[in-house]
């Protein structure tokens, strides 16, 4: 079964990579020492370098979010909106954008209705976005690699059953599943003290559970071809235990497809997190770009900056991740020319 590439699939969460792992090209890579060559090619790619710098910027913001907010003198504390908003004049901020000039206390302005500081929420939103995308990628990758390895290596019935499950998960509409699951998970844990964290993890769980299939298929295909190769055959004949064959012999040869998969997953998860928050689920307590976008849409005419801030955050991050991923895929495949 192939996968949809339509835009509604939330970026390319379930996208097939453009490279067929069984093709001669992929084998050619694994034959040489690919990583150094690829890295060299990547460093010569200007767009890739720029994207990497942008991504690095976002990572720094995410990692040091509290510190950055402190340095800039802003915070996500709740404030009383009546002190900062023009209550009878349409609820727009008394100082700063959109109706007044730059407000040094709140460089990004403040939000209508709640008077929250936009910059602080932007920085925290970046953190939320990257944390969730990174962890979801991690879990989905592990899941995908394990299932792909098992299916490809063991073959037979195991392969049939696992392939069926891959198809099954590809058939479930991801958005609907996420929409249905997230509130149920939230309700389970609503009395816990660490609710905000649990909510994030349940979102990560949902993303990972519906995001591992691409990786699994890629790995399975790769393993299917690798396991017929002499060095694997030899290891098996020598009586190496299966787990050792998998980890010692196969894994090192799977680096390229894994990197390719991850480069597809990361931007897709960033987009998915924001998209779900935009639809009103996902992170509801705490800061999230998607949530701010959803709130800001109705103020677009009066206060477009409020929408543009998180929107540019999402677009820039997803764009850089996608372009860098593209460059990585190119670099790993010596045959493509852009």
């Amino acid at each position: 079964m192939s996968q949809p590439t339509a835009p509604e699939a939330l970026g390319s969460l379930t996208d097939e990579t453009p490279i067929d792992p069984n093709s001669k090209k992929a084998k050619a890579i694994t034959g040489r020492s690919p990583m150094q060559i690829a890295l060299g090619r990547l460093l010569r790619d200007k767009i890739a370098v720029i994207c990497a710098i942008v991504i690095l910027f976002f990572i720094i913001v995410a990692v040091f979010a509290p510190l950055i907010n402190k340095m800039l003198g802003v915070n996500t504390d709740t404030v009383f909106p009546s002190q900062y908003l023009d209550m009878l004049g349409g609820g727009m901020p008394l100082e700063g954008p959109p109706n007044n000039g730059f407000d040094p206390d709140h460089p990004f302005g403040i939000a209508p209705q709640t008077a929250d500081d936009n910059l602080a929420y932007w920085v925290e939103g970046c953190r939320t976005s990257l944390t969730i995308a990174a962890l979801a990628t991690l879990f989905a990758s592990v899941l995908g690699i394990v299932i792909g390895l098992l299916a490809g290596f063991l073959g037979g019935m195991v392969d049939k059953v696992l392939s069926f499950f891959i198809d099954l998960f590809l058939t479930v509409p991801f958005l609907l599943a996420a929409l249905t699951l997230a509130p149920i998970l939230n309700e389970r844990f609503n009395t816990a003290d660490s609710y905000v964290t649990i909510q994030k993890f349940s979102l990560i769980g949902v993303l990972a559970v519906f995001g591992w299939m691409g990786m699994a298929r890629l790995i399975r295909g790769e393993v299917l071809s690798l396991r017929e190769r002499e060095f694997v055959q030899a290891a098996r004949v020598l009586g190496m235990p299966t787990s050792r064959v998998l980890i010692k012999e196969l894994m090192p040869n799977l680096a390229a497809p894994i990197i390719i998969s991850v480069s597809l997953m990361l931007p897709a998860f960033v987009a998915a997190e924001a998209g779900l928050a935009f639809l009103g689920i996902g992170v509801t307590s705490g800061a999230s770009w998607g949530q701010t976008i959803a709130k800001a849409v109705k103020y677009f005419e009066q206060y477009s900056l409020y929408l543009w801030e998180p929107l540019i955050g999402v677009v820039l991050l997803v764009l850089s991740l996608n372009l860098l991923g593209d460059a990585i895929r190119d670099a790993l495949d010596p045959k493509t020319r852009r």
């Binding site: 504390d77 709740t78 404030v79 009383f80 909106p81 009546s82 908003l85 209550m87 009878l88 004049g89 349409g90 609820g91 209508p112 209705q113 709640t114 509130p183 939230n186 309700e187 609503n190 009395t191 609710y195 009103g280 509801t284 307590s285 949530q291 959803a294 709130k295 849409v297 109705k298 103020y299 009066q302």
Partner: protein, 587 residues
């Protein structure tokens, strides 16, 4: 009466409503806005005119014809059109005004006050000495949409249906018919108790007589509910089918109904204007569009295009209020709805009145309204007690603590210190699904914490009422602060105080329990009718002053937007809805 609109769940959620007159006055709304300040008409409670007869007075300049589209944002509308099953502000305001008649009705009087006038009955009913038996004489010229006359037998049958709480669980009959009619509590209704005789409702010629279990002086108000109207006999009104296409007897009949989407009403040519003291039939066709997106509705109404000229919107987004206020002028109508929003500290846990008062001073009123998407001073105004402004007997200038309680964390700290309860732990819930409720909770938490409370706010994914009203709920047992929004069913204290504050009151989420107060409520119900209003008002003030068991946070108002070709833009204070009875399309 309930409000379905999910937004209303925000700070404690308005669910039970029907309205009556009410009104604050323009003082609260003075501001620096560029638009005109909105004024409410000051209203007196409980005006009646039992002599008014049809036809309804012609409106000046009214013309016939045209189609009116009503946009209802964020509310899916009624589940069933069966008059017996209707107890929502939205559904009742439409059906009672346009399609379904009952014993009595409200008419918008001068200054916007609702006046109780006869409808199917020739007067407002004849009670006996102690209000235990009421007789309504049904007029002989009222007709169904098929041209047949409405008979006393059909009215008696319709009223008898209201006792079937099993079949009409959402209807108001379960509360009032069963509560007051003789033997009502034991009679499960004509569908559930098939074949069982019920003799408290009888008819003789044109007279319908209802015997009461206990004195019920407000029967004439209860008669204004469409559940107190006729239903075709026998199979013709069999639920649930009748609920999808009930037979109309008002000036309009149901052309097409798609639940949660659309209701189309067309002229009922069998309706006789002479038989109806308050309804008009100027408009040719009504189209109600439910569950609309507020932003889209605002866009249509403010665009001034041809679609919007003959349209009405039942609400407006707070982000568009200023623009609407300056551009629309008289076409933006503000209507009080007889509702109060409250916080209810658990009476058995927060026993010190000073702590309860400290909560009232720690609640950041203006900020909560802003964060909740309300327009402070317009859609929410400060409250002083439980009975809404304008209700008969209400002590208008009463203040439980000398002056209007506003956000004052210093005062709250003092009160806490006085009680020796610094750092008092508050546990409450909020409806996490709605981003507005989340924003509101943040404000409340901040307000309380700045006043020296500790706050634990538990996010919930179901309506807070599910938790507050379920005594066995595990979360509910941990709470010491709840809330309730309550609207009166008619303008009398008896529909406000007992449900919220009697020890067995259904919505007594505070768990308030004082024998003396229970006794006093019973005493008032037994008083002569003319004394009751003032007694309820006095009790309202007394409870707030002596016990302060509930923190009233706001009285609520609604905003309606009218297209420029809608004649006579006005609100119906009785229901807190647009005044559908009196609109016309300017040609």
């Amino acid at each position: 009466m309930k409000r379905n609109k999910p937004l209303a769940l925000v700070a404690g959620a308005a669910l039970i409503t029907l309205a009556a007159c009410g009104g604050g006055n323009g003082d609260d709304t003075e501001g620096t806005g560029t638009g005109t300040d909105k004024k409410f008409g000051a209203q007196e409670g409980g005006t009646k005119d039992e002599t008014l007869q049809g036809p309804a007075e012609e409106l000046e300049g009214a013309t016939e014809g045209g189609t009116v589209t009503v946009y209802v944002a964020g509310d899916p509308g009624p589940n069933s059109l069966d008059p017996t099953d209707g107890w929502s502000v939205l559904g009742n305001s439409i059906q009672q005004a346009l399609t379904h008649r009952s014993l009595t009705q409200y008419k918008r009087g001068e200054d916007g006050q609702p006046v109780l006038v006869p409808d199917l009955a020739v007067d407002l009913g004849q009670p006996n000495e102690d209000y235990t038996e009421w007789t309504f004489t049904i007029r002989d010229d009222a007709t169904w949409e098929d041209g047949k006359p409405v008979t006393a037998e059909e009215v008696a049958w319709g009223i008898q249906r209201s006792l079937d709480a099993e079949t009409f669980p959402a209807g108001p009959g379960a509360e009032y018919s069963k509560g007051y009619f003789a033997g009502g509590a034991d009679y499960a209704g004509p569908y559930t108790d098939k074949g069982k005789a019920y003799d408290a409702i009888s008819f003789d010629g044109q007279d319908v007589t209802i015997k009461m279990e206990k004195p019920f002086p407000d029967m004439d108000y209860w008669g204004a509910f469409m559940a107190m109207g006729p239903a075709p006999l026998g199979k013709a009104s069999q639920p649930p089918n009748y609920g999808t296409d009930p037979l109309s007897n008002g000036p309009y009949k149901i052309e097409k109904w798609t639940p949660s989407e659309e209701l189309i009403l067309t002229k009922n040519d069998q309706w006789i204007a002479e038989s109806d003291p308050a309804r008009h039939q100027y408009v040719d066709e009504w189209i109600f569009k439910f569950d609309q997106d507020q932003a889209k509705v605002d866009q249509i109404m403010l665009s001034g295009n041809s679609d919007s000229q003959t349209a009405i919107a039942t609400s407006i987004g707070s982000d568009k209020y200023e623009q609407a206020n300056s551009e629309l002028g008289e076409r933006l109508v503000q209507q009080t709805s007889q509702c109060v929003s409250t916080l209810t500290p658990d009476y058995s846990k927060i026993t010190d009145i000073n702590v309860r008062k400290a909560l009232a001073y720690a609640y950041p009123y203006q900020d909560v309204w802003l964060a909740g998407g309300e327009v402070p001073g317009v859609t929410r105004v400060p409250a002083n007690s439980i009975m809404p402004p304008g209700m008969a007997g209400k002590v208008e200038d009463f203040q439980p603590d000398g002056e209007q309680i506003t956000y004052n964390p210093e005062k709250a700290k003092e009160l806490l210190a006085e009680a020796g309860e610094e750092g008092y732990q508050i546990t409450m819930i909020f409806y996490e699904v709605d981003p507005l409720a989340v924003a509101v909770q943040k404000q409340i938490t901040k307000g309380f914490e700045s006043a020296g409370f500790k706050v634990k706010a538990i996010p919930v994914q179901v309506s807070p009422y599910d938790i507050w009203l379920n005594p066995d709920d595990k979360v509910n047992k941990t709470l010491n602060l709840r809330g309730v929004n309550w609207c009166s069913d008619w303008p009398a204290g008896s529909t406000m105080l007992p449900p919220l504050l009697s020890s067995d009151g259904v919505y007594n989420t505070a768990g308030f329990n004082e024998e003396a107060i229970d006794q006093e409520m019973e005493d008032i119900a037994a008083m002569p009718l003319e004394d009751q209003a003032d007694a309820w008002g006095a009790l309202d003030a007394k409870i707030m002053e002596e016990y302060f068991p509930i923190i009233p946070t706001a009285f609520r108002n609604d905003l309606f937007v009218f297209g420029e070709k809608i004649g006579n833009p006005s609100g119906d204070a009785a229901l807190g809805a647009p005044n559908y009875k009196d609109f016309y399309v300017m040609q």
